[in-house]
């Protein structure tokens, strides 16, 4: 009798679980989700900050021996970037002057809404994060999310009233149109487990090379053109292939972000 009652209790609990899945599929679990998110926000934020801090400390401790070499490399990069910046400023002025002469309208400046990262995906192969902005802040599904310097983080995949889930570019099912800024070759950016990103479907005759910057092409999706995706690390060409592929790495530590910006226009 006792055993039968226990069996019934387990069946009721499992039935409740199935009911939750059905309610979520129908979208009826959303208010509960919102309420839970709102109630747990203070604890969640503190725990995430503590986790990020501890992770950063452990990473730093393990990389102390590389700091001198990293510093030298960064100084060299800094000098190159300063030179590029000066050249870019010159080009921007020329561009603006030419646009004025041709009566071209300037491209609309994008509006960025800052958002704090509340949590990351709690397993190892999918890549999402949750931010503390939602529908009431004007967020919509498909909006691009960037970090400082307009580096692409991902796009909004699910919006609640006060929070939203961001589908990261390194998720293995992420896809977007990409453009090599140097060679102007276009292709498809895809996330890949472990290596970061792959730029696929690049025509064989395009001269893509290591170090090139890859940006979003704005084609075939929600993402605006010109967001920095990363840089080409390696190019894979096959003699008899129609396309070539490039390994692309993002300069962002996408699992250690604390603040991101949603492109709202």
């Amino acid at each position: 009798m006792m055993r039968r009652r226990r069996g019934q209790r387990i069946l009721i609990i499992i039935g409740a679980g199935l009911l939750l899945v059905i309610l979520n599929t129908a979208g009826w679990l959303s208010p509960v989700h919102q309420l839970l998110g709102w109630m747990t926000r203070p604890v969640a934020t503190q725990l995430t900050k503590a986790g990020t801090g501890t992770g950063n400390f452990l990473t730093l401790t393990s990389q102390v021996k590389n700091l001198a070499a990293d510093n030298q490399r960064l100084e060299s990069d800094n000098a190159d970037l300063r030179q590029k910046l000066a050249e870019d400023a010159e080009l921007r002025q020329q561009n603006e002057a030419l646009r004025r002469q041709l009566n071209f309208s300037d491209s609309t400046p994008s509006q960025l809404l800052p958002a704090e990262v509340i949590s990351y995906q709690p397993d190892n192969f999918r890549q999402f994060l949750t931010i503390n902005r939602g529908r009431l802040d004007g967020l919509k599904e498909g909006m691009a999310v960037v970090a400082e310097g307009k580096q692409l983080v991902g796009k909004i995949s699910e919006v609640g009233d006060h929070d939203a889930k961001v589908f990261l570019i390194i998720d293995p099912t992420f896809k977007a149109g990409g453009l090599d800024q140097d060679s102007r070759a276009d292709g498809t950016i895809k996330g890949q487990i472990g290596t970061g990103l792959i730029m696929d479907k690049i025509a064989q005759n395009e001269a893509v090379k290591s170090g090139d910057t890859v940006i979003t092409s704005g084609l075939g999706g929600d993402l605006p053109k010109g967001l920095i995706v990363g840089r080409v690390e390696a190019v894979n060409q096959q003699d008899n292939g129609v396309f070539q592929t490039a390994q692309v790495v993002s300069d962002l530590k996408l699992n250690k972000l604390e603040l991101v910006f949603v492109v709202t226009s």
């Binding site: 209790r9 499992i14 839970l36 501890t54 992770g55 509340i118 709690p122 995949s157 487990i193 472990g194």
Partner: protein, 167 residues
């Protein structure tokens, strides 16, 4: 009171996994703390209590995840029931090998389920990286199963009635 305590343990483990370990990512992976807790719960508590913990912890993880709602609730409930079944065959929590073996099998099965979803969605998978991450996660899960053993046994051991547990 008893139920509240068990729910608090499941919620605490879920929160730590989502917020603390999810942000910290030791060795680049998120250890499955909830799995470890539920294995001990399956060995120490009544089946209905352990399954209830699995459902609540799994629900928290499902809500925090961006995909596959229900996968975690279902997985943790099945693992817990499997552990309860093994206990009913005569095993007990003092058998550390059993705990570690269940941890390894649970971690492998869960990650295979997630990977199956990625492959079905035509995602790109580099199997060498998958192997490395899975290896690190298993090591961390086993470490947690050993390191948290005294605490979890103390928290989950029935005090007034129920199972016979020797110390």
């Amino acid at each position: 009171m008893k139920t509240a305590k068990l729910l608090a343990i499941a919620i605490g483990a879920g929160w730590l996994q989502i917020y603390f370990l999810g942000a910290m990512r030791p060795l680049g992976v998120v250890p499955n703390l909830l799995l470890v807790c539920l294995i001990y719960a399956g060995l120490l508590r009544e089946a209905s209590e352990a399954v209830m913990m699995a459902l609540v912890g799994g629900l928290l993880l499902d809500l925090a995840s961006g995909n596959d709602f229900g996968l975690r609730m279902g997985f943790y409930a099945v693992v817990t029931l499997a552990v309860v079944f093994v206990r009913q065959q005569g095993a007990d929590f003092e058998n550390l090998t059993l705990v570690l073996l269940t941890t390894v099998i649970g971690a492998v099965v869960f990650n295979l389920l997630v990977l199956a979803g990625i492959v079905a969605g035509h995602g790109l998978v580099r199997w060498s990286t998958v192997g490395a991450r899975l290896g690190w996660e298993i090591l961390l899960d086993m470490f947690l199963a050993v390191a948290l053993r005294p605490l979890l046994v103390w928290l989950l051991r029935p005090t007034s009635r129920g199972l016979k547990v020797s110390s």
